[in-house]
C-alpha cells in the first residue's frame, strides 16, 4: 500500500535543460526569409505567409482587415467558390488573419497535396481581384456580426480598454464602428492590396514533416515575387485622461465584464520577462493569487486572468474577468488588495518554486510538435529577437528572486497607474 500522504519525488522543472529546436533559415531568390521546422510523425505540414499589411499600415479603419479577408474571394481566373472548392477538395485549410502589424495567409494540408495547393496560394498573392459583390456581402454580414457582438459585455469591454490605454487613433486602440463598413470602397482595398501584398514585404514560416526538396518548391512559386522593402512608421500612444469608467451596455445583464490595464513595454525592455514571472504569480495561471482568491475562495467569477499583451511595438498589462453584477466592485477591490500584498510582502520560496516549475513545464509542453515550435520562432522573428531571447527568458524564470519580484510590483502594480472599466 503506497503512502498516499507522501508526494512522489519530482524532478524540478527548473532543472530541465530546455532546448528550442533550431529553425532552418533559407533565403529565396528575391530575398524573402523562410524559417522551417522539420519535425513530426504525421505526413502534414503548415505554411504561413506573413505580410507587413496589418492595421498599422491603413489610413482608414478596416481597410487592412477587409483586404486580407477578400484575398480568397476571387482572382482573374477563379471565383470565390472555385478557390474554396480547390482548397477544400484537397482537405486543406486555407486561413487568413489580420493583426496589428502583420496580416497572414496560412495553409495546413496533407503533404501529398502540397503541389496542387501552392500555385493557387500564389494566385491569391499576385492576382486577387476583390469583386464588388464579394465586398458587399462581406460588408453586410460583418455589420450584422458586429451588431451581435455589441450586445456582449466582454466584447465591448475588451475593445474599450484598449482604446483607453492606447488612444482611439492608435492601431492597438482603434475599433470598428458600424459606419466604418459603409465607407469601405473597392478602390482603396485594391490599392492597399497592391502596395502591401502584390508589392509587399513578407516572411514565411513552414513546419511539419517536410517533403524533400521543399526549398525548391517554395522558391519556384514565391521566389520571384517583388518583396519590396518596407518600414514601419512610429505611432505613439495617446491614452485617455479619465482612468475609471462604468458603462451600462445591457441594463438587464447579470454579469459585469471587468478590465483593468496599465501601459507596459514591449519585449525589448529589460523588465519584460521578469514581469512575465510576476504576472504568472499574480494572475497568469490556475494557481495564481487572483484565481485562488477571487474564484477559489470567493466564488465571484468563473475565471480571472492577468496577462501582458503580445504586441510588437508596445504593450499593456491587463486583468480580465466576468463577475456577478453585484460583486464587480468587490472584485476590483480584491485585485488591488492582491497588488498590495505583492508590493508589501516577499513571495515565499515554495510558491516561487511553484511558479518557476509551472512556467518551465508549460514551455516544455508548448514545444511539443512542429507547429508549436514554429510558433515560437515566429514570435522571435517578428519581435526582432533571436533564440538567445528564449534562453535568457528561461534563465530569468530560473533565477529571479523574491526581492526582484517585490521591487517590480512596487514599480508596476500601482493602482493609480491602472485604467479600470466595468461593462454590464
Amino acid at each position: 500500500m503506497p503512502d498516499r500522504k507522501q508526494a512522489p519525488v519530482i524532478v524540478d522543472a527548473v532543472d530541465f535543460d530546455l532546448r528550442l529546436k533550431q529553425a532552418e533559415k533559407i533565403v529565396l531568390k528575391n530575398g524573402v526569409e523562410v524559417y522551417a521546422v522539420n519535425a513530426g510523425a504525421e505526413e502534414v505540414m503548415s505554411v504561413e505567409w506573413v505580410f507587413y499589411a496589418g492595421n498599422w499600415f491603413e489610413d482608414k479603419n478596416l481597410v487592412a482587415a477587409t483586404s486580407n479577408f477578400l484575398l480568397r474571394n476571387g482572382t482573374s481566373n477563379k471565383t470565390a467558390f472555385q478557390l474554396n472548392e480547390h482548397f477544400e477538395y484537397y482537405g486543406a485549410y486555407l486561413n487568413r488573419a489580420c493583426y496589428n502589424e502583420t496580416a497572414t495567409i496560412t495553409l495546413h494540408c496533407l503533404n501529398k497535396h502540397i503541389q496542387e495547393l501552392l500555385p493557387v496560394v500564389r494566385e491569391l498573392i499576385t492576382d486577387s481581384v476583390m469583386p464588388q459583390e464579394e465586398l458587399d456581402t462581406y460588408r453586410q454580414n460583418m455589420t450584422q456580426r458586429l451588431k451581435v457582438n455589441l450586445k456582449k459585455s466582454d466584447f465591448v469591454a475588451s475593445r474599450l480598454i484598449d482604446a483607453y490605454v492606447y488612444g482611439e487613433q492608435h492601431p492597438y486602440g482603434k475599433y470598428t464602428r458600424l459606419e466604418d463598413f459603409d465607407s469601405l470602397n473597392r478602390e482603396e482595398l485594391i490599392a492597399f492590396y497592391k502596395q502591401y501584398y502584390q508589392q509587399g514585404k513578407f516572411v514565411m514560416f513552414i513546419a511539419g514533416r517536410l517533403p524533400t526538396g521543399w526549398p525548391d518548391l517554395i522558391n519556384r512559386y514565391f521566389g520571384d515575387l517583388p518583396n519590396a522593402a518596407g518600414d514601419m512608421h512610429n505611432i505613439s500612444r495617446e491614452p485617455v485622461a479619465e482612468k475609471k469608467s462604468r458603462i451600462i451596455n445591457d441594463a438587464e445583464g447579470v454579469q459585469g465584464s471587468i478590465r483593468m490595464a496599465r501601459p507596459f513595454y514591449n519585449r525589448h525592455h529589460p523588465d519584460f520577462v521578469k514581469a512575465m514571472v510576476l504576472n504568472t504569480l499574480f494572475g497568469g495561471f490556475f494557481g495564481s493569487r487572483l484565481m485562488s482568491n477571487i474564484r477559489e475562495d470567493k466564488g465571484y467569477t468563473y475565471g480571472i486572468h492577468s496577462f501582458l499583451q503580445n504586441h510588437i511595438h508596445d504593450s499593456a498589462w491587463v486583468i480580465s474577468t466576468e463577475a456577478g453584477k453585484d460583486v464587480c466592485e468587490a472584485t476590483i477591490q480584491e485585485v488591488y488588495k492582491e497588488m498590495k500584498i505583492l508590493r508589501d510582502d516577499l513571495v515565499d520560496e515554495e510558491e516561487l518554486l511553484l511558479v518557476r516549475n509551472y512556467m518551465m513545464g508549460s514551455i516544455l509542453g508548448d514545444l511539443d510538435g512542429p507547429f508549436q515550435i514554429i510558433a515560437r520562432w515566429k514570435n522571435i522573428v517578428l519581435n526582432k529577437r533571436t533564440d538567445q531571447y528564449f534562453y535568457d527568458s528561461i534563465q530569468t524564470i530560473k533565477t529571479i528572486s523574491a526581492e526582484e519580484l517585490r521591487a517590480l510590483a512596487q514599480q508596476y502594480l500601482q493602482p493609480e497607474d491602472f485604467y479600470e472599466l466595468v461593462v454590464v
Binding site: M1, P2, R4, A7, P8, I10, V11, A13, F16, G40, A41, E42, E43, V44, R72, A80, F81, N84, E88, Y89, G91, A92, H108, C109, L110, T137, Q140, N141, Q144, R145, V148, L150, K151, K152, S153, D250, E252, G253, V254, Q255, F285, G287, R295, D297, K298, G299, T301, Y302, E322, G324, L354, N357, Y358, M360, G361, S362, L364, G365, D368, G369
Partner: protein
C-alpha cells in the same frame, strides 16, 4: 495506425498505454463513464458541478493543483452529456505525481463544505457567462427541451436551471461520487514518453487497492420516434432573427452516424459547402449558416443554425433551407463532392492525431464506447460511405415529422 497496449487491473480499471518517444511529456487521461444524461431530472447540472468539486482536494491530498503545478504539469477537465474527462500533461519524469493525484481522488474526495459552497457559486457564474448574458445563449436549452420529450439529453450539461445547482447538498455529492467514480466505471490512458512496464507498476501501485465499486448499468429512457414536427417562436432582445432546426439522427455506434457526419460536411463547413454558397453567397438570405451534429453517443441531433440578413422573412429563409435539403433527398451527390468531404475528414483526423493529448483522449473515448482499437478504423468507415447512402440518409433524417424548429426573432 495508433499503437497501444491495454490491460485491466483486478478492480476493473481499464488501462491503455500509448507510447510516443518523440515528446518529453506524458499525458494521463482519466475518463469516467458518467455524463449529464445520467442525472436525476430534478438534480441536473450535477455531473458538471461534480467535475468542479474534483479539484477541491481529496482524502489524503488537500490541494490537487499545487503539487501538479510544482511538477511542471497542467490539467483540465470537461463534462459532456455522455462522459466526464480529466486530463493532465506533465514532464514524463514526473509521471508518478499524476498517478498519485488521480488515484487519491478516485479513492475518495475530501467532500469539503467550503469547496461545495464556492464551486456552486463559480458554476452559477459560468452558467450566467455562457448561457444568460450572451444573445441567443438560451437557445440550446430550449431546443433540447423541444426535441427530446423523454431522453435525458433534454437538458444541457450546465443544468436545466440555476436552482438545481444552488440546491446541491453534500450528501448528493457523496452519493454521486461512490456511484460513478469507481475503477470499474473508468478508463485510464497514459501516453507519451512512457513504457508499458512503468505504467503497469504505477497503475498497480496507485490504483490497485481502490475498491472496484459497482458497475454502473445505464438504463436510460429512450426517446420515442418523433411523429410530428414541433415548432417554437421566441421573441427576444436580440439584434437579428435567427433560424434553428434540428432532426433526430443515429447514435455514435450506428453506421448511419458516419453518413450523417459526411452529409453535414456537404451542407456546411467550408466556403464551398452548399448552404454557405447558396444561402449566404448567392441568395443572400443568411449572414451565416452552419450545419452540425451533437456527436452524441445515444441517438443525437443534426442541426442547422443561421442568422438572417436583416429584412429577410424567416419563412422565406426556411423555404430556401428546405430547398437545399430537397436536393440532398432527390439527387445523388457527385463523386468529387463526396471525395471532397472524405478528404477533409482524412485531413482532420491526421491533424488531430498530431497531439499526444488528443490521441490519449480518443483512445479513452473509443474504449468507453466499446474498444479503443476502433480509433484505427474510423477512416475506413468514412471511406465506405457511398453517394446512395447519403441520399437515403438525407431522406431518413430530413423528414418534416422528424424536425424541431425554433424561430428566434428580434423584437427591436
Amino acid at each position: 495506425m495508433i499503437q497501444f497496449e491495454k490491460f485491466t487491473l483486478s478492480n476493473g480499471l481499464r488501462v491503455i498505454v500509448h507510447q510516443d518517444l518523440s515528446t518529453p511529456m506524458a499525458v494521463v487521461n482519466l475518463m469516467y463513464d458518467v455524463g449529464a444524461r445520467d442525472e436525476d431530472p430534478e438534480r441536473t447540472g450535477f455531473a458538471h458541478l461534480f467535475e468542479h468539486l474534483m479539484f477541491g482536494g481529496s482524502v489524503n491530498i488537500p490541494s490537487y493543483d499545487e503539487p501538479l503545478q510544482m511538477a511542471g504539469g497542467e490539467n483540465n477537465a470537461y463534462t459532456t452529456n455522455d462522459l466526464t474527462n480529466y486530463y493532465i500533461q506533465l514532464p514524463a519524469d514526473n509521471l508518478e505525481t499524476a498517478f498519485w493525484l488521480e488515484s487519491d481522488r478516485m479513492l475518495s474526495l475530501a467532500f469539503s463544505k467550503k469547496s461545495l459552497d464556492v464551486q456552486r457559486k463559480v458554476v452559477c457564474e459560468e452558467f450566467k457567462e455562457h448561457y444568460l448574458t450572451k444573445p441567443y445563449g438560451d437557445v440550446w436549452h430550449k431546443m433540447r427541451e423541444l426535441a427530446y420529450t423523454t431522453h435525458p439529453y433534454r437538458w444541457m450539461t450546465i443544468g436545466k436551471e440555476l436552482s438545481h445547482i444552488e440546491n446541491a447538498a453534500l450528501a448528493d455529492v457523496e452519493h454521486f461520487f461512490f456511484k460513478h467514480y469507481r475503477p470499474v466505471n473508468a478508463v485510464l490512458v497514459v501516453a507519451g514518453n512512457v513504457t508499458v512496464e512503468k505504467v503497469k507498476s504505477l497503475a498497480e501501485k496507485w490504483f490497485g487497492d481502490i475498491p472496484s465499486g459497482e458497475k454502473y448499468k445505464r438504463n436510460l429512457p429512450q426517446e420515442p420516434e418523433q411523429t410530428a414536427a414541433r415548432k417554437q417562436v421566441i421573441q427576444s432582445n436580440v439584434p437579428l432573427d435567427a433560424f434553428y432546426k434540428c432532426w433526430h439522427m443515429a447514435g455514435r455506434l450506428d453506421r448511419r452516424y458516419y453518413i450523417a457526419d459526411l452529409l453535414g460536411d456537404i451542407l456546411s463547413g467550408g466556403g464551398s459547402s452548399r448552404l454557405y454558397q447558396s444561402l449566404v453567397k448567392e441568395k443572400k438570405l443568411f449572414s451565416s449558416i452552419e450545419c452540425f451534429h451533437f456527436g452524441s453517443t445515444d441517438a443525437g441531433l443534426m442541426a442547422i443554425e443561421g442568422k438572417l440578413v436583416k429584412g429577410v422573412q424567416i419563412d422565406e429563409a426556411e423555404k430556401a433551407v428546405e430547398a437545399e435539403l430537397d436536393k440532398m433527398k432527390n439527387e445523388l451527390v457527385s463523386a468529387s463532392e463526396l471525395q471532397k468531404v472524405k478528404n477533409k475528414t482524412e485531413s482532420m483526423i491526421a491533424f488531430e492525431d498530431m497531439s499526444v493529448m488528443s490521441r490519449a483522449n480518443s483512445l479513452a473515448y473509443y474504449e468507453l464506447l466499446g474498444d479503443a482499437s476502433w480509433m484505427n478504423f474510423e477512416l475506413e468507415k468514412y471511406a465506405s460511405v457511398s453517394a446512395e447512402d447519403i441520399l437515403q440518409e438525407s431522406r431518413n433524417i430530413f423528414r418534416e415529422s422528424n424536425s424541431n424548429t425554433i424561430h428566434y426573432l428580434s423584437n427591436n
